[in-house]
Amino acid sequence: MSARAEATGSTQAVTPVLEVRDLEVAYTTEGHERTVLHGISFSIAPGERLAVVGESGSGKSTTAAALLGLLPGSGRVTGGSITFKGEDITRPGRERLLRLRGREVGLVPQDPMSNLNPVLRVGRQISETLAAHGVATGKAATQRAVELMEEAGIPDAARRARQYPHEFSGGMRQRVLIAIGLACAPELLVADEPTSALDVTVQRQILDHLETLRAARSTSLMLITHDLGLAADRADTVVVMSAGEIVEAGPTEQILRRPQHPYTQRLVEAAPSVSSARARVSVRQGEAPAGVQASGERASDTLLEAVGLTKRYRLRGQRGQEVVAVDDVSFRVGRGRTTAVVGESGSGKTTLSQLVLGLVAPTAGEVRIEGEVVETARGARRRAIRRAMQPVFQDPYASLDPTYSIEHIVDEPLRVARIGDRASRRRRVAELLDQVALPGSLAQRRPNELSGGQRQRVAIARALALEPRLVVCDEAVSALDVLVQEQTLDLLADLQDRLGLTYLFITHDLAVVRQLADDVLVMQGGTVVEEGAVEQVYAEPRTAYTRDLLDAIPGAEFFAEQAR
């Protein structure tokens, strides 16, 4: 079944740019062959935009690598065929492959930070593509590289072409990679998560630009993404992959509005942009959690209060120059509520979380928890305050010591705080693992035996060990796949209800905010530009910046339409 045929209906006569039939890819490890792609079939018509959607490990990037002969290590095509404009390129020779790569099929890779050669000038990295394929050489290639950079939306291209990658921002580097991918005007552009590493507003600008360039050349596009919203906005056809197989394929509208396969249905439901503020039982509507004195004062409802928080960093090597990371920020976090801090990279949101946790000292202003100033507290009070707030960090791979067992990791805060004896701590760890819905059998395992979602649960269990009142989640779900992300958010909401926790949720992802938070602070350049209840801010954003952020969420329009 051809996705293309369904999508356009009337293009049977046209030879597809790319046709993949029953593709199988296998890796050999220690003599064992492991098949990772099973019977992948799809085709892309001239000018068509196809999105391959799936979670990490679904095989979407492997499919792209197989097309270009870029399978890593022992990976190889073990079955099926790949046809490019009617020519079989399943197992191309070296010469054929060199012409295919870059000339006929362009690649825009995922991470702009790691995909440019740090020791070559940017212009050279574009012009050498032209030269390698004989499209332009020498001065002409250099000149063309500058033009390509201009087309990709890089200002002052002639000067910037002589700079090195480290002098470019992430967004600008991604534009360079797009210029490289499109340099030789290929018939097919493979874009592998081209903007996942970028802020939403930058992401939108770049994808808009990419679309303009693509449409002008009527290049076909194979867009690989984990983000259904992105597929909704940017593709004609969607192929959904899971565990090395295609579970569903068809026109974007049909897949997203009437998904047939249970996996696709779950994926669509979990897409954060889809689910507008899900109803969830929460303490915020009803009674205050036990233990809170009904003194009637507003102050007693405020767990955390920041007053005029400011953090300035001195720039190294430049005397007197300072960067204001957080600039006079004041806010309150109500007990039992979730307050989200939203902003793009460089907005100061992470510095803010470190200030709250007392990990960095403020230049001015103070943080109060239950009315007590964090910075001036000493000794036992200080330790009590530390215990009252615990962090959950972004990367579950980096935040757990790989040499410790899970039990040891969760137990550590208890040991540090000298709580209980060995037996009682063991019981507490079992209880905590149970709270985060992890089987007790994992206690003796090491972090590398766990999946990303499981690890983040371990990190949450560790944060809960000391029965904190405030949990600071710094991008706690950003590194997780959509379905896992949803489960983790559910877990956080459930824990909040059961334990009366208060969350300060730092994130760049506005869709997640809507799903979880009660209140939101929008940060830009170190200051809070907007704050209020989530429903209110989302429904009627007061500042242009918040509006831009909301509009930039991939699939926002698409799913908003659906909701109506």
């Binding site: 270009l68 060199l98 790569r101 870059g102 790691s114 740090p118 020791v119 593509t129 002589r162 090195y164």
Partner: protein, 317 residues
């Protein structure tokens, strides 16, 4: 860049001063007396005292140090106690030998090490890697005085390919000089080559699996270009640092190698002067070696910024 260099030079001056102090005090703490060595075991106390006065050894150490420093500032390294010749003449005669030897050894080691390491990484799991790994292991573990003796025994004595000892100045006859220096340079460079090979291999394996190498391949660049401009150039950033650190070892290695091959170099001068407590010569030797370290490290820093634009100083290139 100028400011950066100026800063480095200032640091170098301080390092030199400190090392002068350390060596000055250090040699005087050594057991043994240069006056005794010069006047002979049989000399009577009056003669010894006279010798001491002539050498200035009867002055307080602080005065001696000051005199030494001010002479140093005038480029006067003193006179050898043992031979009575100016130390500068001794150094002028021996330093070039060692410099040529070290330079030759370095060039050989870097060429062999980088090439071998790169091949080992590219042909991973095949015979070039096994050969390179074998060489690295042997080069690091076999002591080079023993290697030198074996080389003399088989390559010079039995096969007669190279001279067992002797030296011709490079300025006199470059080809003959090369003929005499090759074997010592190979022996001296073996350990460095082994280290460079290891480092190049592991760092190249790393760069070969980077995203930018994959992107370069996806551009359709020929394999040789990808290996040279992407994998190798980025590997060299680490390798250059290692070379800089290892070159210091080369100088001390030269002492032993010169001894084995009977080269009239700096190493021989060092050993002879230590044995006779020839204070002025020891001091001069240490100062020069320190200066060499500083110059090498400065050169590595500069080279490093040429290879790695990210640390290029002075803003935009």
């Amino acid at each position: 860049m100028a400011r950066y260099l100026l800063n480095k030079l200032w640091q170098a001056a301080i390092t030199l001063l400190l090392s002068a102090l350390v060596v000055f005090v250090g040699v005087r703490l050594l057991p043994g007396d240069p006056a005794l060595a010069l006047a002979g075991e049989e000399a009577d106390p009056a003669t010894l005292a006279q010798v001491r006065t002539d050498l200035g050894l009867d002055q307080p150490v602080i005065v001696q140090f000051w005199r030494f420093l001010s002479n140093l500032a005038h480029g006067d390294l003193g006179t050898s106690i043992r031979t009575g010749t100016p130390v500068t003449d001794l150094i002028a005669a021996t330093l070039p030998v060692t410099l040529w030897l070290a330079l030759y050894a370095t060039v050989l080691a870097v060429v062999i090490g980088v090439a071998g390491g790169a091949l080992a990484a590219v042909y991973r799991g095949r015979w070039p890697e096994w050969v390179a790994n074998g060489f690295s292991l042997a080069g690091l573990s076999v002591p080079h005085f023993w290697l030198g003796l074996l080389a003399i025994l088989y390559l010079s004595v039995s096969l007669g390919l190279f001279p067992a000892s002797g030296y011709v100045p490079v300025t006199e006859n470059p080809l003959r000089a090369l003929y005499y220096l090759t074997l010592p340079a190979v022996i001296l460079g073996t350990a460095l080559a082994a280290v460079v090979m290891r480092q190049t291999r592991s760092s190249m394996l790393e760069t070969l699996s980077t995203d930018y190498v994959r992107t370069a391949r996806a551009k359709g660049l020929p394999r040789a270009r990808v290996l040279r401009d992407y994998a190798l150039r980025n590997s060299l950033i680490v390798v250059v640092t290692i070379i800089g650190l290892q070159l210091g070892g080369l100088i001390s290695g030269a002492v032993v190698t010169e001894r084995i091959f009977g080269l009239p170099g700096f190493g021989k001068l060092t050993l002879d002067s230590v044995f006779t407590r020839d204070y002025p010569v020891i001091q001069a030797v240490v100062i020069i070696v320190t200066a060499a370290y500083i110059v090498i490290n400065l050169a590595v820093d500069v080279l490093y910024s040429v290879i790695n634009p990210r640390i290029r100083v002075g803003g935009e290139a």
